[in-house]
Subunit: 208 residues, 2 copies
């Protein structure tokens, strides 16, 4: 089994490294899939916050994938018009057991034709923009599953998405081992009140 993480210029770092950590830990502690980073070419990818990552494969030489994840970030604004990336996500995605997006990665899934008529979510700052596409049922939860398509809210939410995904695919014992190995028992501290008071705060935070 193999799990591909698509990266592109201006992909948001934690959007893919959070899920990467959970998935590679799954591989290490509970026989999860092998993980790889794939980009349009084999050259370094400069992420949204300046981290430079060397992909393992290009779209051309990427081995078969069972699972595919697309992160978000400013780069999605241009990648939704990148025919090579959309073709890769559409073609590979259709044959995958599951396709996942984090943050504004959902716009890439949509542009690749994978979200039509489906429930999905994105970063709170882009919920209205996702709704405006007209053919996505936007859900303001931490993460959403609709069939083989899984999507999460912004940036850090990809970690929660992956644990729920591992729990579904491999069972609670596997998810528990990954959560424990990554010591993912986050603080419940809320700084300030933006999550409750900001006009664009998502439903799952306003009602928490």
């Amino acid at each position: 089994m193999s799990f591909g993480f698509v990266i592109f210029p201006q992909a948001e770092e934690l959007d893919f490294v959070g899920p990467w950590e959970m998935t590679t830990m799954w591989h290490q502690v509970a026989e999860g899939p092998k993980c790889l980073l794939v980009a349009e070419t084999n050259t370094p990818v400069i992420c949204a916050k300046g981290m430079s990552v060397n992909p393992h494969y290009s779209f051309v030489d990427c081995p078969p994938l069972d699972y595919l994840l697309v992160p978000g970030g400013q780069g999605t604004r241009t990648e939704v018009n990148n025919p090579k990336l959309l073709d890769f996500v559409a073609t590979r995605g259709q044959s995958c057991k599951a396709v996942l997006s984090v943050c504004t990665g959902s716009f890439v899934l949509h542009a690749a034709g994978l979200l039509k008529g489906r429930k999905a979510t994105t970063h709170w700052g882009s919920l209205e923009r996702l709704r405006a596409l007209g053919d996505v049922h936007v859900i303001e939860e931490r993460f959403v599953r609709d069939g083989f398509i899984w999507s999460s809210a912004g940036v850090s939410a990809g970690i929660d998405l992956l644990l729920a995904f591992i729990n579904e695919v491999a069972g609670e014992d596997a998810a528990a081992r990954v959560q424990f190995a990554a010591e993912y028992y986050p603080s419940e501290q809320r700084y300030g009140s933006l999550h409750r008071t900001h006009a664009s705060s998502p439903k799952y935070l306003r009602e928490a």
Copy 2:
């Protein structure tokens, strides 16, 4: 102001990318420091789970730093014997306003002479090993501050550490903006019961 993140072979991905995301977001939304990744040389660094990262600077050409973070990972087992890395952390760390470690990065701080007689923590799987060093007051919390030294528990705990750090250094409004921008309002879901039942589970989880 500048914030340096030390990376080395077999550094754990989320250990530094979680804090990197919080700190670069701080730079973006609340005038936080500029952030950079620094390694022994300018060549690609292969992390513990296989991600390849290109550092921005080497130890030789790294600009002055105000803050320094050292991640953990399997690589710390050898880096505690790497005189170039220890010299960099010791020399730069002593002049920084704060030095932070995530996970087993605390062993690097210790080897660099920065933890003697101080309170600190590490990944649950290494608490006994940290205690066995003899001159560290090991605290089984999510994160710990002792003067200008801040340390966190394993892997994902670095995110909580950085938000607490930003709250302390820049105030709650800055921490709130970063938390909201990164949508860091994690699920409270606990899979299985390892966090309560495992013999090595840290005190903050057993008593939660």
